[in-house]
């Protein structure tokens, strides 16, 4: 196997997302970068995908029969995306059971490049305190700034972080309600560079919309963020839903790109946590315990 620039075995052995299947033209070679390695991929008309290390005889834009490509990397379809690995991945990717519920809308809101490390972007995804300041009048509004107590656990059997009982005041919380109300959230981090958010559905009190961010690390300080939506919405056009999600993500982007250092510091004394940051603290500890070094500044030992 070729030597990789990334030496973090934990990260090398993970599945990483490359592209939304819905955005790929059949049988055409597309180039991308994963962990500083140049890769190419293609999907045929039946949905069979191939991923391989970039090579001169298969240049971007050329037509290819995916079955004939030699020296393929591991490949998987999941949640509407093509995934691959540069190491020895586990057979299965983390589960999102709601994805298979028949009445849900499933779409890729966008894949957007961000000048930040993957862990910084995950931490932002887990954060509620910034809603009134960054997503003003959409996900939050002053003076309703309190992050109420919530619960965080690191689930040992599933090897993921779970934050429950999260609530935050949202103006215009439901289409029918004129005023704001607390909205419930559940956050999962089942993969060092992926997170899944469950948000109470305005349509059905007993069920939740699912919004996930799957980060493709280009290098230690750049990602492609793939945003997956799996919603109960029956009314809105896809493009209206995408617009909302891109608006939110576009608001986070300048914050992420102005964080310094870009890699996430795991030294507890690098930054100042507050109680609202419980889930971020759990995430940093979890990365430390796993021995993740890519995209982070490991704590001095």
């Amino acid at each position: 196997m070729a030597k990789t620039r990334c030496t973090d075995q934990v990260i090398l052995n993970l599945w990483h997302p490359l592209a939304a299947l819905s955005e790929v033209k059949p049988n055409v070679v597309v180039d991308t970068i994963l962990l500083e390695e140049r890769l190419s991929y293609a999907v045929d008309g039946k949905g069979n995908a191939a991923v391989w290390r970039d090579r001169a005889d298969l240049i971007e834009g050329s037509t290819v029969d995916v079955a004939t490509v030699a020296d393929q990397l591991p490949v998987k379809h999941a949640y509407g995306y093509i995934w691959t690995s540069l190491g020895d991945p586990q057979a299965d990717l983390f589960p999102i059971p709601e994805f298979d519920e028949a009445d849900r809308r499933r779409l890729n809101a966008a894949t957007i490049g961000v000048n930040v490390s993957a862990p910084r972007a995950i931490e932002n995804f887990l954060d509620m305190g910034h809603f009134p300041y960054v997503h003003t009048d959409i996900l939050g509004a002053e003076p309703h700034t309190e992050v109420k107590e919530y619960d965080v656990e690191i689930s040992v059997d599933r090897d993921e972080i779970l934050a429950t009982r999260c609530r935050f005041f949202q103006p215009m919380a439901a289409a029918t309600a004129s005023g704001g109300a607390d909205v419930d959230y559940v956050y999962r981090v089942p993969h060092p560079f992926c997170s899944v958010l469950y948000k109470s559905s305005p349509l059905d009190e007993s069920r939740r919309d699912v919004i996930a961010v799957f980060l493709q690390p280009i290098d230690q300080e750049h990602v492609r963020a793939h945003m997956m939506l799996c919603l109960l919405d029956e009314d809105n056009e896809d493009k209206v839903i995408k617009r909302f999600q891109q608006t939110i993500f576009g608001q986070d982007k300048p914050i992420l790109e102005n964080q310094f250092p870009k890699r996430l510091p795991l030294d507890p004394r690098a930054e100042t946590p507050i109680r609202a940051d419980k889930s971020a603290i759990a995430y940093r500890r979890w990365l430390s315990q796993k021995g993740v070094t890519y995209g982070v500044i490991p704590a001095a030992t």
Partner: protein, 215 residues
Amino acid sequence: MITLYDYELSGNCYKLRLLMSMLGVDYKTVPIDFYPGREHKSEWFLKINPLGQLPVIDDDGLVLRDAQAILVYLASKYDPSGTWYPRDEAALLGEISQWLAFADGITGTASAARLHDALFYDFDVEAARVGAHRLFRILDEHLWFGEQEGRIWLCSAAHPTIADIACFPYIMLSEEGGIPRQDYPAIRRWCDRVKRLKGFMVMSGVFPAGPAKAA
């Protein structure tokens, strides 16, 4: 009623939303899935704008494309104060046109770099960044000397014009294309001034300013 064919993350669409907000003009938007859907290249949209570009407005049947052209139209028609595009002041109109062209230059460089970094457009990003820095140096110098002479907007009038609106968005978004504004302190101050204009609104990627000091 004006209809704006709009994409939230587009600075060129934003400049129209910004001017309409400042003028207090009502409008509705038709969201276009510019990315990833490339709806602006779809057959139906090409009938509206054969160039396949955003923004486009439809004002009671008058269909216009090109952000700078639409700014001229909106200010000419909907600005009762006549200050955003003063039709009777030849010299000022010349200045405004000069900066509208400059704004196109910013779109061709700073916006291109941003499209490359954020939406993976296949552009020569280094050339785009070099080009943006060249324009920003010229602009910073212009604004600094303006401050020294008591001129705080792009053109020599005592009030802002559509030239300021045209240049603002892709300057404000330049960092998303890897073009920091740290070396352009006069541009940074001018950005604060634009943000404090009455009716100012933000887009994703642009933060509001705090209130100015009471005089």
